[in-house]
Amino acid sequence: MSFLPLADVEVNNETQPFWDALRNNTLMLPRCTACQSVVWYPRAHCPVCFSTQLQWEEMSGRGTVYSYSIVAKGNGRWKESGPYVVAYVELAEGPRILTNIVGVAPTDVHINMPVVAVFDTGDDGRVLLRFGASPEI
C-alpha cells in the first residue's frame, strides 16, 4: 500500500460491484449497452442517454495524467502525509477520474505521464483506486 490515508467509502447498491472489484485488484466500470459510454462515476443509469441497460466491464487500468497538483500539506488525516499528488487520470477507456499518483516522487509527475492502476489496500481491507508510474513498454 501507499502511505496515503485510506477511507471508509460509502458503498451502495449502485456502486457495490466497483468496490468489490477493487478488492479483487480489478477495475470494473459500467458500460452503457445503448450508447457504449463508459460511465463515471458508477451509477444505475447512463448519464449520456439515460439508459438503465448497463453492463459491468473490466477496464485496462491504464491511463495518462490529465492534470495534477502537488499539495504541500493536507488537511485532517492528510496533515502528516507530506507533499502528495492529487491528479485527474484519463483512463484508456475515456473517463477522467480523480485520484492520487503514488510511488513516484511528486516532482517527477507530469501531464501525459503514463500510469497504471494501484489497488491501494489496507490491512483492514479498505481500498482506494490510485495510480502509479507505468513501467516502460
Binding site: 477511507a7 497538483s69 475515456g94 480523480l98
Partner: protein, 388 residues
C-alpha cells in the same frame, strides 16, 4: 422572456467588518439586510421576496424569513455556491417581471474566520453521490483550482507570473479600501515567493478567509421610480451549470462560456462595451479563465490579457474588482459572490473609492463562479448599467 430593464438594484450593502467574533450568522444576515434597505430608502415591511443560499441557517429560506420578520409572496434559496447571489438577482428580476413581487431582499452572511473554517476545509455535502469517488484523495479546494491552473499552463503556456498579475491588481485596489482584509500592495515577486499551497498555486493566489456578508435589494421599475436613490438596472443575465460530464471534464473552461454570451445577448452589448468587471476571484486562475470564457480575450490568451496592469483601475484595459476582490478585500462565508454585485453597483453609482473609480462607468459586468473549477460549478453573469 428578457428581464432587460425590468428590475433595478436599489440597495447594496457590504458589512464593514472582516472578523466578527461575537455575533451569530443570522444576526449578520439581519445587519446587512438593514444596511441594504437603508441604502435603498426602503424598510423591512416593503420586502415581499427573500433570497438566501444554502449556507444560511435553517430550513431553506423559511427560517431566515421568520427570523428577519418578513411577510412574503415569493421566496428562493437556490444554492450554487458563490454564484448564488448573482443568480438570485436574475431570479428576483424574473419574479418581478412576472409580477410575483416588487421588493426582493438578498442576503449573504458567514463567519468562517471566527469559526475556524479555512480555505480547503471539508465540503458540507456528505450525502452527494460523487463523494466516495472524489473526497478521499486529499483534494483540497486549492488543489482543485491548482489542477485547472496546471492544465491551463500546459495547453496555453500560461505562467505563474501572469497569474500573479491578477493578485497585484487586486492588491493595488485594496490599498484604497479601509475595510479590506488585506490592504498592502504586493509585487509579482512577492506572489511568486509566497508559500506554495498546491502547486502551481501560491498562498497569494488564494482568496482571503473572512467573516462578514452583504445584501442587495432588487425592485420593480415602479418602486425604483419612487426612490430618490440611484437605482441600477439589470440589463443582462446568464447562468450555466458545468459538471464533470460523465468523467469527460475539461479543466480549461468554466460555465462562463455559456452564461456570458447569454447575458451579453440579453443586454444587447459586447465585452468591449464593459467599463468595469467584478470577476469572481476565489483564486487567480478563476479570474484568468473566466475573462477568456466571457470573451474579453481569446481562449488561452488570458495570461497575455492580464499582463502589464490591464486589470488595474482606473485606466487599465479592463478595471476589475476595485474593492480588492476576494483576493484581498472580502470573501465572506468562503464564497463572497454578493460582493461582486455590490462593487459593480458602487462603480455605476460613481461611489467607488476615487482612486479606483472608473470614469464615466456606463456598463458593468459581475460574474460569480460557485463550486469548484475542478469538478462542478454554477456560473452566473450579470450585466448592469447606469440607465435602461
Amino acid at each position: 422572456m428578457s428581464v432587460r430593464g425590468k428590475a433595478f438594484i436599489a440597495g447594496a450593502y457590504e458589512h464593514p467588518l472582516r472578523t466578527i467574533p461575537n455575533k451569530t450568522v443570522q444576526q449578520v444576515h439581519a445587519e446587512v439586510a438593514a444596511g441594504a434597505l437603508a441604502d435603498a430608502g426602503l424598510s423591512l415591511s416593503d420586502v415581499d421576496a427573500y433570497f438566501c443560499a444554502g449556507d444560511a441557517p435553517g430550513f431553506g429560506a423559511l427560517s431566515m424569513a421568520e427570523y428577519l420578520g418578513l411577510e412574503l409572496t415569493h421566496i428562493d434559496n437556490t444554492e450554487t455556491g458563490g454564484s448564488s447571489y448573482l443568480l438570485h438577482v436574475q431570479h428576483a428580476a424574473e419574479a418581478i417581471a412576472a409580477g410575483h413581487c416588487h421588493v426582493a431582499l438578498i442576503t449573504l452572511a458567514g463567519l468562517p474566520r471566527s469559526s475556524g473554517a479555512g480555505i480547503g476545509g471539508a465540503g458540507r455535502f456528505g450525502s452527494a453521490p460523487e463523494v466516495s469517488f472524489e473526497n478521499f484523495f486529499g483534494l483540497s479546494i486549492v488543489a482543485g483550482y491548482a489542477m485547472a491552473a496546471r492544465r491551463h499552463m500546459y495547453e496555453f503556456g500560461t505562467t505563474s507570473k501572469q497569474l500573479a498579475e491578477i493578485k497585484v491588481a487586486a492588491a493595488s485596489h485594496a490599498q484604497h479600501n479601509p475595510n479590506a482584509f488585506l490592504q498592502n500592495v504586493v509585487t509579482i515577486e512577492e506572489v511568486l515567493q509566497s508559500k506554495m499551497v498546491a502547486d502551481p498555486l501560491h498562498m497569494l493566489d488564494c482568496c482571503v478567509v473572512t467573516d462578514g456578508g452583504g445584501a442587495l435589494v432588487v425592485v420593480s421599475p415602479e418602486v425604483a421610480r419612487k426612490l430618490s436613490r440611484q437605482c441600477v438596472p439589470v440589463l443582462g443575465t446568464g447562468f450555466a451549470v458545468k459538471h464533470v460530464n460523465n468523467g469527460r471534464i475539461d479543466l480549461t473552461h468554466t460555465g462562463a462560456v455559456v452564461s456570458g454570451p447569454r447575458a451579453f445577448a440579453e443586454a444587447g452589448l459586447t465585452p468591449s462595451d464593459i467599463c468595469y468587471a467584478s470577476i469572481y476571484d476565489s483564486f487567480t486562475i478563476t479570474v484568468l479563465t473566466t475573462l477568456e470564457d466571457l470573451g474579453f480575450c481569446e481562449k488561452g490568451k488570458g495570461g497575455e490579457f492580464v499582463s502589464n496592469g490591464a486589470l488595474q483601475a482606473p485606466f487599465g484595459k479592463l478595471p476589475f474588482n476595485t474593492d480588492g476582490g476576494g483576493l484581498c478585500n472580502n470573501h465572506p462565508s468562503n464564497r463572497g459572490g454578493i460582493t461582486k454585485v455590490i462593487e459593480a453597483v458602487r462603480q455605476l453609482r460613481n461611489e467607488a473609492h476615487p482612486a479606483v473609480q472608473v470614469p464615466n462607468c456606463q456598463f458593468a459586468l459581475a460574474h460569480g463562479t460557485g463550486g469548484n473549477l475542478a469538478t462542478r460549478m454554477g456560473s452566473a453573469t450579470l450585466i448592469l448599467g447606469q440607465e435602461v
